[in-house]
């Protein structure tokens, strides 16, 4: 195999169309006769709808349809747990829940019509604290929970307002604590944050003459959306067509149905194609943000730093619905990571996902992990401080070695935890002299699975020799299409510019599980690689036949087949393909399937943050972020850097500034003027270190680099602040004001 394409900084295949504005997104879809849909949303976090009158709205010129919950009362939707009405039927459970929708000739008329809909509410006392919502006397937000489809069958009966629960127990916890020299406890919390993709949710639906429902919507799992929608609308699968739509950033948040069913019902009601585009205010009020969390930790340690017992209780505020979580347990990933990358002989980890009257949470890049790792890695530093150990020394003592089991009993192959930690330290300033006072350095490490799943690939070579990969998954910005092109080019030994990767809708593409969970380069990449290898095998045969060579001796180099020692000109891939198409009277198509369940290896990421704190104001200036990964062989170093650095930036937002401020159930800052994310001026120098000796299942033997850099930033920053000025901030975001207040408290305590 040639290695001229693999390991190069190949530019983004879709970069030009995106930066020039040529790329069209779901919100750009314009079909003949298309009209606008808009939703009316609840102004209360919890209320009963007593009366709803739409007659004035219906009478407004330009209004084509108005629908309410009573029109679609029996339809409950959800990615797994189906607990949410498309339009609230009798009760609204969060501020921003849809209660009615209109279709109108234009957006302004639709907005005006919403103002004419009269709703009378009876306000109810909202449940806003997930800890109190679990109390025995708390009212039930979902009295019909047990009847919902998708509810985990193992959910214990006695839990109140909990829709997902997990408990992992290992070893003898009591004995572990009894043998400890020190027991360290801590409680941490994290804020609700938004994915903050540039493109808000948008959807367009058109029903054709045969009754087939065509859908345009940014979606990470096009085939999954088709299934969910068919099920929700009670239509045969073949009657739903997902039309390929670009994704303007998703970070986990574009896997739900969102407005698609509503577009469908509005379209049915008015007989026209309907488009809905959420405003960013609607995104903040009613999309699917990251769950806030409360994490309690208790760890027993020996004086030499050995962990003897570890107990964790995690409470996630689900908000009003569980509908946005796709996994069978309707769970979040954090619990599995709550013991960290360490040897823990005895543990108990409990996770509760609790209904409240907040915005329903959904999946966001490594769902559950940044919350739990902020708590855990802060706690780990506190244990080290209690023992008088350097946090690095404590981590090195406890870090998983080959053959060790982690807190949940998992054992992995080809473990590189220690190497990753050491690489992050070596590439950072950790342990170096500090040039000024109030500079601090902190670290964090995490493990995360290498995603598996199913993918099919379709590779075509036409009579002219043009190579096309037809994929059913979008490139959400991580560069997956670029990498797929590099893989095909490498196998075919041709320049990547001779390969097209085209994304198509469900009528044209073959099944793919979609993007997410750190699996795309692995699963889709493998399927595509297999297809390219099949293509080479077949074309080699045609080349051999053309020249009369024995097939075994035919080699492929630079797009040319030749047979060393045999007579005859080399045969180009194009010539072989033309011969094949002519002789078979059919285009060359290679259709492959790759499936992989659990991957034997686990992937690690470690980070060192270096900050400077202004002790007079509490202001934190990040000086440098260093991230290390056991990536294995990088297919495209530039894409890997982009993925990791993007994660660091998103992690800095989570760590330092992002918070959907919840006041009495209301999101108080539903716009980017008040909800701040990092800008380019806020980004410190970023360094990456790659541990390339790390075998994995990706094409060319590497591992994923998808999410770690975002998971550990909160912990690394919190620990760096602790190192700089000696105060521990136990909640995100770690703001200047929190540091200032902690410093004042510390001064008062020592005065």
């Amino acid at each position: 195999m040639s290695t001229t394409v693999i390991g190069t900084r190949a530019p983004r295949v879709e970069g030009v169309e995106k930066v020039t504005g040529a790329a069209l997104y779901s919100a750009d879809v314009l079909l003949p006769g298309m009209v606008w849909g808009k939703s009316l949303r609840s102004p209360y976090p919890y209320a009963r709808i007593k009366r709803l009158n739409t007659s004035k709205a219906r009478a407004l010129p330009g209004v084509l349809a108005v629908i309410t919950g009573s029109d679609i009362r029996n339809v409950l939707v959800g990615r797994r747990l189906r607990d949410q009405h498309i339009l609230a039927a009798d009760v609204v459970r969060f501020m921003g829940e849809r209660v009615a929708a209109v279709a109108a000739e234009d957006k302004d008329v639709a907005d005006a019509a919403l103002e004419l809909i009269e709703v009378e509410y009876e306000e109810l006392e909202p449940l806003l604290d997930p800890l109190k919502a679990m109390d025995a006397d708390a009212p039930l937000l979902h009295p019909d929970l047990r009847s919902y489809k998708g509810l985990p069958p193992t959910l214990p009966e006695h839990l109140r307002n909990v829709h997902a629960y997990s408990r992992i127990e290992r070893g003898d916890l009591a004995a572990g604590f009894a043998s400890a020299d020190e027991i360290v406890e801590g409680t941490y919390s994290t804020a609700m944050v938004h994915q903050a993709y540039i493109e808000p949710h948008a959807a367009a639906v058109s029903v054709d003459a045969e009754g087939r429902v065509h859908v345009w919507a940014a979606q990470k799992q096009p085939f999954g959306l088709r299934e969910m929608l068919a099920e929700a609308l009670d239509l045969p699968l073949e009657m739903v067509v997902y039309e390929y739509s670009r994704v303007g950033g998703e970070f986990g948040g574009k896997g739900a149905l969102m407005d698609v069913p509503l577009c469908y019902y509005l379209s049915k009601a008015c007989g026209r194609p309907v488009r809905m585009v959420m405003t960013y205010t609607e995104e903040f009020l009613a999309a699917n943000p990251r769950h806030p969390s409360y994490v309690q930790l208790k760890t027993g340690v020996k004086r030499d730093g050995t962990i003897t017992a570890h107990e964790v209780k995690i409470i996630f505020d689900s908000g009003a619905y569980g509908a946005f979580k796709p996994v069978p347990g309707v769970d979040l990933g954090g619990a599995r990571k709550a013991g960290g990358a360490y040897r823990v002989p005895a543990s108990s980890i409990e996770s509760f996902i609790v209904y409240t009257n907040h915005v329903p949470g959904g999946f966001m890049r490594a769902p559950g992990d940044p919350q739990v790792l902020f708590a855990l890695e802060s706690h780990v530093d506190e244990i080290a401080h209690k023992l008088g150990m350097d946090p690095l020394e404590f981590r090195r003592k406890n870090i998983l070695r080959q053959g060790d089991a982690n807190a949940t009993g998992e054992v992995w192959a080809d473990l590189r935890a220690r190497e990753v930690l050491d690489a992050a330290i070596a590439s950072s300033n950790y342990g170096q002299p500090k040039p000024r006072p109030h500079i601090g350095r902190g670290m964090a490490i995490t493990n995360r699975h290498i995603g598996g799943g199913d993918s099919q690939a379709l590779l075509r070579i036409d009579a002219g020799g043009r190579v096309t990969v037809v994929t059913g998954t979008p490139d959400a910005g991580q560069g997956s299409h670029t990498i797929q092109r590099q893989i095909v080019a490498d196998v075919l030994t041709i320049p990547e510019t001779q390969v097209d990767v085209v994304a198509r809708g469900t009528d044209e593409a073959v099944y793919d599980g979609g993007i997410g969970g750190g699996k795309t380069t692995h699963v889709t990449g493998r399927a595509i690689m297999m297809a390219a290898e099949q293509a080479v095998a077949e074309l080699r045969g045609w080349a051999a036949e053309l020249r009369g060579w024995p097939e075994d001796g035919v080699v492929l180099e630079h797009g040319l087949f030749s047979s060393p020692g045999e007579a005859g000109e080399p045969v180009s891939l194009q010539l072989a393909a033309a011969e094949a198409v002519r002789r078979k009277c059919a285009p060359l198509e290679f259709h492959t399937t790759y499936s992989k369940g659990k991957v034997e290896q686990e992937c690690f990421g470690a980070q060192v943050a270096e900050v400077e704190v202004d002790p007079e104001t509490g202001q934190i200036t990040v000086l440098q972020m260093t991230t290390a990964h056991d990536s294995g062989k990088l297919i495209n170093p530039m894409a890997a850097e982009g993925q990791v650095e993007g994660g660091v930036v998103q992690g800095l937002g989570f760590a330092l500034m992002e918070e959907m401020i919840l006041e009495d159930g209301k999101v108080a800052n539903p716009n980017f003027g008040e909800y701040k994310i990092p800008t380019i001026a806020d980004i410190p120098p970023l360094r990456e270190a790659w541990v390339e000796d790390a075998p994995g299942p990706l094409p060319y033997g590497g591992r994923n680099v998808s999410e770690h850099s975002l998971i550990i930033t909160g912990g690394a920053i919190g620990n760096a602040v602790r190192d700089a000025v000696g105060v521990r901030i136990t909640s995100t975001p770690v703001t200047a004001e929190k540091v200032f207040a902690a410093l004042q408290a510390k001064r008062q305590a020592s005065a």
Binding site: E659, I661, K676, T679, A681, A736, E737, F740
Partner: protein, 292 residues
């Protein structure tokens, strides 16, 4: 956004006629960076917009009698880039350079910013320290007001419904003056200030001959700190004197809690940033604070 009538007068007189005839249902728009956002959020729903975009003669910069006259339609970036402003009023160039982003600065006008009356804006703070006046014109004539009297409350100024803000008049600083504008941005570089502070200092023989201080984002309007100034005028700028005078500024703070900080925190930060602005101004005046 609701629909509205749109007028584009080409002279001040024509604009004044329209303001009177359209009355309170109309809004005047210049750069639109404040108003259009409010309209999109439906916080303001005018029946008519009177755009000043085509009015000629309101975007100039003129220097005479020791004053810089800044036309109301001058955009923020023009001040940042002006060589004259950079030389004669470097504090103003520094302050306007810290407003929002270059995209907004290219549209936002000086007059629009002042009439908007948002206490979280940067320019008012420095303009207060520079003793700026504003001139307002109606069909019955022109009046000039000190900026401190022009600013009334949150989003409220002394402009009358029939008036247009024509220009701001800013006295040029003496060559030996030190100056500073500090914008405290603890979250992100793209934000309103949690608090801000401006200072102007003139030192003679190690004594503060002239000292002017103002802060922003921590009261219903930007505030001039007269007691702080009084405590320092005629004094040597020792660290103790600066600290005590800056602490005094906190008495004038009356902030609200929001995502940029609690009221209590902002009040504390007024003390810190007033002092730091004074220190930086003194440093630029060639007299680093004694004892530092």
């Amino acid at each position: 956004m609701n629909s509205f009538e749109f007028f584009a007068p080409t002279s001040v007189d024509e604009a004044l006629d329209l303001i009177v005839s359209k009355g309170e249902d109309a809004k005047i728009v210049a750069g639109g960076t404040g108003l259009v956002n409010m309209m999109k959020q439906r916080l303001v729903n005018p029946e008519a917009l009177i755009s000043l975009g085509a009015v000629r003669g309101l975007d100039g910069l003129e220097i005479s009698d020791g004053k810089v006259r800044i036309g109301a339609l001058c955009n923020h970036q023009a001040l940042v880039k002006s060589a004259e402003v950079g030389q004669m009023l470097p504090l103003l160039a520094e302050t306007y350079s810290k407003v929002a982003t270059v995209r907004i600065r290219n549209f936002a006008t000086v007059g629009g910013g002042l009439v908007h009356g948002d206490p979280n804006q940067d320019p008012q703070v420095s303009l207060l320290a520079l003793n700026a006046d504003v001139s307002l014109r109606s069909k019955s004539g022109t009046r000039t007001l000190p900026l401190k009297d022009f600013m009334v409350d949150y989003y409220e100024t002394a402009i009358r419904p029939d008036e247009l803000l024509i220009d701001a008049l800013v006295p040029v600083l003496p060559n030996n003056a030190g100056y500073a504008y500090l914008k405290f941005l603890p979250r992100t570089a793209d934000d309103y200030a949690t608090v801000s502070a401006a200072a102007v200092t003139v030192l003679e023989d190690g004594v503060l001959k002239d000292v002017r201080v103002a802060f922003g984002s921590a009261a219903p309007t930007a505030r001039r700190c007269q007691e702080t100034e009084r405590m320092l005028t005629g004094q040597r700028p020792t660290p103790e004197a600066l600290r005590a005078a800056a602490e005094k500024a906190k008495d004038l703070a009356d902030p609200v809690s929001d995502g940029r900080g609690s009221a209590a925190y902002k009040k504390e930060m007024v003390g810190v940033f007033v002092r730091r602005a004074l220190e930086k101004a003194l440093e630029r005046a060639g007299g680093a604070v004694n004892g530092r």
